[in-house]
Symmetry: C2
Subunit: 365 residues, 2 copies
């Protein structure tokens, strides 16, 4: 029997904010970091949600590896660009402020790009890309991350699962929101198979010799994830190219760590790098024309003939928007062990764990 | 027994230029179109090379579907952007001139983006992205194309193989040049298996019911290619998302045709759309620092531990640069049927087929 707790989003945001404030994070920054985490849960990306409050953030704040004040410094600036140093601060705060400045510049100059070095894990990449949408901008958000993917023909994990997030506004239809890791699956997916003592589909990962394996243990212990595409036969070098590209823009262009050096050591700042860009649609055609064509395209895709056994064609971001509607209204789910972990973290920090669940479900595991 | 002819690149460029001039293409434009085609052969991307001189270009010029003068018109302009209408002209000329203006604007303003509507097939996307390299710019080139890929859960070909090309300068090392279709393989690859009466690897394509098939006939007749990643299990919806993204930028943002409507009818202009962008590296950090890190990253990847059975790790573009070196020096190969087809096209147009091969090789087929 497993217990699932459903929480109100705002109640959980308030708690996570208080948790961050305890570590010396300024209130406004704590609000941002909490919002990014809870937003992941609301969108059904629970792997990047409050489950990481302690392991990715609290524990590193406590150890002094993350500067709670996120002292952002401008390295270079132009009307279309900004190169920032996040001073080993919170990734979410660096991401939010970086994208905010990017949007301001793009609104004024038509387009803009912002790099951030010396940052930390910033949560879901899609959060920042989506910040562009209310301004009728196309938003792009990239980040590097700790190495988990082997480049084609190698057996070593040298590239992060470096996500690509792009948000494009539509009219009556929901916007297009791509938010994808450049590996086939995240490492957490392999762990799920390991815990369930199940084989993984061939192609997701390799063992320590560089051979495709269905054994999750071998992928996790000395092996690596494969990039989108998988093996050479299925053109995995394209996914390798995309993962590398994200790192060239997030890591090398920003002057952050790159490749195997991202978060190299557990007792040093991770020196993660981000890249943000925003582009005014109305530079190229009137916004209403553009939105009409977006709507038409989305409708044509959704009305396309279905493959046998399928019941629906999705646009990127659609599933997440639907989840969010339901979770915002009726609460979002957390498994009991996650709630226990958050309670422990709260106890350790001396912050009361205030959220009461809206309801509890019991499911047969 | 098969014959392979090896030609000098410049001799072939001169012939293709003369061929285009015959159709009323101005000399400078003809030189550009010829250079893009021969460059594809030099880089080993022979599917996009002179093999297409007649089928993609000559035949459509002859039918009046491509305007030989490529009358480019500015729709909207800002210091960081340009929206162009190519007047149903040659895709290579539209691409070259679009990227040229993009580079000028990026050098001046720091970054720029250019859209082109009402264009035609422009050859290899990488050509235009690479134009940015001598200026220490990061170059991006995207285009949509006739529908061949089925979106995830559909059985209909609604998306082009819409390529992504990005070029990033390095120092002593060769630049990073990604130039990838967003399908797993191009349609021509399926035809190769069909001609050889061989099965294709499962996952490359689907039949008319939307089921994965190993039969190339079924993919080619009423079926479709799958996007990078392939099936849902291997996260093909990420490749679907990338293919769609390329079309949102190349087709929808430019105001060109999109999705199923690209090159919809054989007796109408194709209304292909392109998207170009360029970004100054030195907006974000000194160019020499950046190049040093690029070199270091490339070296680290190339020196990474090899997977069993592999002998080398490649950076994107590396194989093509090496081929180009050898083909530029010793001639590039064309199969006899391609040469025959070019001779036919020349005869039909009344243009002498001047190129003499540097050498002829006979191989057992």
């Amino acid at each position: 029997m497993k217990r699932i707790y459903y929480y109100d989003a705002q109640v959980m945001r308030d708690f996570v904010k208080d948790y961050f404030i305890h570590f010396g994070v300024p209130e406004e920054d704590a609000r941002i970091a909490a919002d990014v985490l809870v937003e992941a849960d609301l969108r059904g990306v629970d792997s990047h949600g409050v489950i990481r409050m302690y392991s990715y953030y609290g524990s590193r704040l406590a150890a002094g590896l993350v500067d709670p004040t996120t002292p952002m410094r401008i390295l270079y600036e132009s009307p279309v660009s900004l190169a920032l140093d996040a001073g080993a601060g919170l990734g979410q705060v660096a991401g939010y402020r970086g994208m905010q400045r990017c949007i301001e510049k793009a609104r004024e100059s038509g387009m803009a790009a912002v790099t951030v070095r010396n940052s930390n894990h910033f949560g879901i990449a899609g959060y920042y890309a989506m910040m562009a949408l209310p301004h009728d901008l196309i938003g792009i958000s990239l980040t590097n991350s700790q190495p988990l993917i082997a480049p084609s023909h190698s057996r070593a994990a040298l590239l992060g699962t470096n996500p690509i997030a792009v948000a494009v506004p539509a009219g009556k239809e929901r916007p297009y929101v791509l938010d994808m890791a450049t590996s086939i699956v995240p490492i957490g997916r392999i762990t799920v198979f390991q815990k369930a003592e199940k084989k993984v589909p061939p192609g997701w990962g390799i063992d320590s010799r560089g051979c495709v394996t269905e054994n999750p243990e071998e992928i996790l212990n000395g092996g690596a994830l494969l990039p989108l595409g998988g093996t050479d036969l299925m053109r995995g070098y394209k996914g390798y190219g995309l993962s590398l590209l994200v790192d060239l823009l997030s890591g090398v262009l920003s002057g952050a760590a790159f490749g195997a050096h991202v978060g190299e050591s557990n007792d040093q700042p991770a020196n993660v790098g981000h890249f943000f860009a925003a582009l005014r649609v109305d530079l190229f055609r009137p916004i209403e024309e553009f939105k009409q064509d977006m709507d038409r395209y989305i409708q044509e895709l959704k009305q396309a003939p279905l493959a046998e056994g399928e019941d629906r064609i999705y646009i990127h971001g659609e599933k997440e928007f639907e989840k969010r509607l339901s979770y915002e209204k009726d609460g979002f789910p957390l498994m009991e062990p996650v709630v226990e972990m958050m309670k422990d973290a709260a106890r350790q920090a001396g912050v009361p764990f205030s959220p009461l669940p809206l309801r509890v479900e019991e499911v047969n595991s």
